[in-house]
């Protein structure tokens, strides 16, 4: 293990190398990040024995990802923003064919207006396409979650692709200290990929045939079952990671901060939770009973865990870094749906779209709203 100051994107590239990924189909230019750049460098320097497929678009990156996993190779790709949007057509095909693999998404706004900055609209709007979605807060968690991601995704009870979401710029371009595990440590934690099914000339098999009306729904039910299975598998990966590396992130699904004795809490995803912690520390010193629920796993959605986390609260505020235009924040919708039986105030705040900074004073305002019994959230400018 070495500890060094590393950019989050480079920490992810290192995690990909340590996970002994075999194929990386990637489209390297804007809106991508330093992730493909560093992976290409590792491969070119002979430090990483993998095949880089230099594709002509993200649509092709996703298609090659599918083909690569079909042949039984551990596969990784990375993208962001419009790049993910261009992959959209292939996302449900990968999950529908039950191909495991990991993609890192540096979450950024979707145009228009043109924005290169952080929000969650790219990945959140793909949440129904059968990919497990984990959301990280720090560079360390980004590195750790890539490694865990393969273990979860390849689990025989899961067999689904997994997306590791890390905030564009707000995390992707941040330099901070990261523990980088050794290859031997990662090898011990993450066994070689043993695909349940793969393309094999000796044992021919068809993937992705037509699903007639009498069978299609059965496939979808199996996918849904696998997603629900993933809840336990994500938890298990988190706890076994702790045994191996000494680090964990809540129960793997939710990461709670200062929730003991809390009356009010904010709920969010990604780096905004770090800033929320600073606000909570400050308010706790003033005697305010406030805490944070960080959603680490958005799909599958940890409904029971959430119900348990909020049961003693008076009110919660959900911060969405995305808006389902014409409705509300999608995270808010999920949370309200999960806790509709509870007698609790739940307010929706839309924040940080297109890179607008989310600050400690935003959280102070939100907690003040909750304490004053306000029944409605707002857009935080």
């Amino acid at each position: 293990m070495t500890k060094k100051v590393e950019e989050a994107s480079l920490a992810i590239a290192t995690a990909v190398k340590l996970s002994r990924v075999q194929v990386c189909p990637m489209y390297p230019i804007t809106p991508s990040t330093h992730v493909p750049e560093k992976i290409a460098e590792y491969i070119a320097n002979g430090e990483f024995d993998a095949t880089l497929i230099d594709v002509e678009s993200e649509h092709s990156a996703a298609s090659a990802f599918l083909g690569s996993v079909a042949t039984g190779c551990r596969t990784f790709t990375a993208t962001a923003s419009q790049g993910l949007a261009l992959m959209y057509e292939i996302l449900p095909i990968i999950s529908g064919m039950r191909f495991p693999g990991v993609m890192a998404v540096a979450n950024r706004a979707l145009s228009a207006p043109i924005s290169i900055w952080n929000d969650h609209s790219d990945a959140v709007s793909t949440r129904d396409q059968g990919w497990i979605q984990l959301w990280v807060e720090s560079s360390q968690e980004a590195l750790d979650t890539i490694i865990q991601g393969f273990l979860i995704s390849e689990d025989s009870k899961v067999q689904l692709p997994l997306m590791v979401n890390f905030d564009g710029f707000t995390l992707s371009h941040v330099f901070e200290p990261v523990d980088i595990p050794s290859q031997a440590e990662v090898d011990k934690f993450l066994p070689k990929f043993k695909p349940v099914f793969k393309l094999d000339v000796k044992k021919p098999m068809t993937f992705g045939p037509i699903g007639f009306p009498d069978s299609f729904m059965h496939f979808k039910k199996q996918q849904q079952n696998a997603m629900i299975n993933a809840l336990e598998v994500v938890k298990k990966a988190n706890s076994s990671f702790k045994k191996s590396f000494g680090r964990s992130y809540g129960d793997g699904l939710l990461d709670l901060y200062k929730m003991t004795g809390a009356e009010y809490a904010v709920i969010g995803m990604g780096t905004l939770c770090g800033t929320a912690k600073v606000a909570i520390d400050k308010l706790r010193k003033e005697g305010k009973k406030v805490g944070l629920i960080r959603i680490r796993c958005l799909r599958p959605f940890p409904e029971k865990e959430l119900q348990n986390a909020i049961k003693n609260l008076k009110a919660v505020a959900v911060l969405d870094r995305h808006i389902s235009l014409g409705q509300e924040g999608p995270l808010f919708t999920d949370i309200r749906s999960a806790i509709y039986c509870n007698d609790i105030t739940i307010n929706s705040y839309i924040a940080g779209l297109g890179g607008m900074d989310i600050t400690v004073s935003h959280f102070e305002k939100v907690f003040k709203d909750l304490a004053q019994g306000k029944q409605k959230g707002e857009w935080l400018f």
Binding site: V5, I116, W117, E176, D357, T359
Partner: protein, 185 residues
Amino acid sequence: MTLKEIRLHGRGGQGAVTSTQVLAIAAFHDGKYSQAFPNFGVERTGAPVESYVRIDEKPVNLRQHVYDPDYVIVLDTSLIDDVDVTKGLQKNGIVIVNSDKNAAELKKKLGNFNIHSINITKIALDIIGKPFVNIASLGAFCALSKEVSLEALNKAIDELFTAKGKAAVAELNKKAAKAVAEVCK
């Protein structure tokens, strides 16, 4: 030690991001936690850019931009005409400006802060042979703030450049940073 925040102003192409990266690595070598990040705009050579560093004894959770810095470093004196470089700066905050003007003259423009004017460009030209001030300016930060040691800065420069096979670049930058630090004593 409490959280310390540094805001660095530069122009596109001056290496502001690399500078803050090196400072974060240096603080880490001094046994502290650190965080460096740029305020990305649409990068064009010569356009004003900002990059930030946080240093603390405990892990840095805060992810907002730096609004109330303890230290400001200005890599190009002409920026003080275009950008409010002391915006939000803490009372008694230290400002390090790469300039050939004297501090009293800069004070008229920047207000009553702890202002240090150092001709870093001249030192860089003498030692490196090129106006590379991004790393050299950190010598002034080490000497004036005492937040980071010059030894740790040297280690950080080595980590970034020597590892990439640029040992000569590392040596020149270390020499320039040391020379800048000495002027500040």
